[in-house]
């Protein structure tokens, strides 16, 4: 009996050990530091195995800068990186593969010190 329980626990531990969280710098932006900030809207949404986090910024260049710096730190892990300037602002995007799933990261900077930032992917990618 004890042996059976030990075997079950070992298997469960082994399965969890195989999955590695991505440890992204951009994830730290959702640690609650901006929850009380009046210039942002923060959304954390989980639905049908999809995990989404977003920050909409209005007129706060410091936060935009922090987000851009976090994205640059994670850029080396990206399988796909793009940065475009166009009429409605600057679009920076990353795609990072983790646990066989793709994590999409994007930052759109408008011309009024505002922006829209998000992290999105399957839940499995973040475990």
């Amino acid at each position: 009996m004890k042996r059976l329980i030990f075997i079950i626990l070992s298997i469960a531990t082994a399965f969890t050990a195989f999955a590695n969280p991505p440890k992204l710098n951009v994830e730290s932006l959702f640690d609650g530091r901006y929850n009380n900030n009046k210039s942002v809207t923060i959304s954390i949404y989980k639905n049908n195995g999809n995990y989404y986090r977003g920050i909409t910024i209005k007129n706060n260049p410091q936060i935009i800068k922090k987000i851009a710096e976090a994205i640059e730190k994670d850029a080396p892990k990206a399988s796909d990186y793009s940065d475009h300037q166009c009429a409605d602002g600057q679009y920076t995007s990353l795609q990072i593969i983790n646990n066989g799933e793709t994590i999409f990261i994007g930052l759109q900077r408008d011309k009024h010190d505002g922006g829209f930032f998000f992290i999105q992917g399957k839940e499995k990618a973040f475990k």
Partner: protein, 156 residues
């Protein structure tokens, strides 16, 4: 030893009792002596002692012959532990698989569930639009690079 339905006198019974106490009798003889003592009226210290020893011996034999009583209650904690383990794993699995979950902060205030869902869904739509824009930009850039490369190759 004579057959157990033969008559013994007191001395003979006492001698048999002494032999019993000295473990000089076979099992069959001990059984016959026990029968004799149960059906005779003789009484002496040796006979009393022998009867006492026979009683003790009988109770020990019964204890040895008893089959170990299998207690059902021994299995209850084992079954409960297994059930708890299975339920625990199922609960963790279910929690990981669960339903939607939505938290939204607007200008420093946490929004209620209904508003949170509306904002979150609007954000997801914005995200999809963002990705469409990025993909179109990438496609446009790739097309520019392709045209540039073709131009270079043609001019060679």
């Amino acid at each position: 030893m004579r057959h157990h339905d033969a008559q013994f006198n007191l001395k003979e019974v006492e001698k048999l009792c002494q032999l019993y106490q000295d473990c000089q009798l076979t099992v069959l003889e001990e059984t016959e002596l026990e029968y004799v003592l149960a059906h005779c009226d003789f009484d002496s210290p040796v006979i009393k002692e022998t009867k006492g020893l026979m009683t003790v011996s009988r109770s020990v034999k019964f204890a040895a012959n008893e089959k170990p009583h299998k207690s059902v209650w021994k299995w209850v904690p084992r079954v409960a532990a297994c059930a708890a383990l299975v339920l625990g794993i199922a609960a963790i699995y279910h929690a990981n698989q669960s339903n939607d979950n939505c938290i939204v902060y607007v200008s420093g205030e946490k929004a209620n569930d209904e508003i949170a869902h509306e904002i979150a869904e609007a954000d997801v739509a914005k995200m999809q639009q963002f990705m469409q824009v990025v993909n179109e930009q990438k496609a446009a850039e790739e097309e520019k690079v392709k045209q540039f490369t073709n131009h270079i190759n043609q001019s060679k």
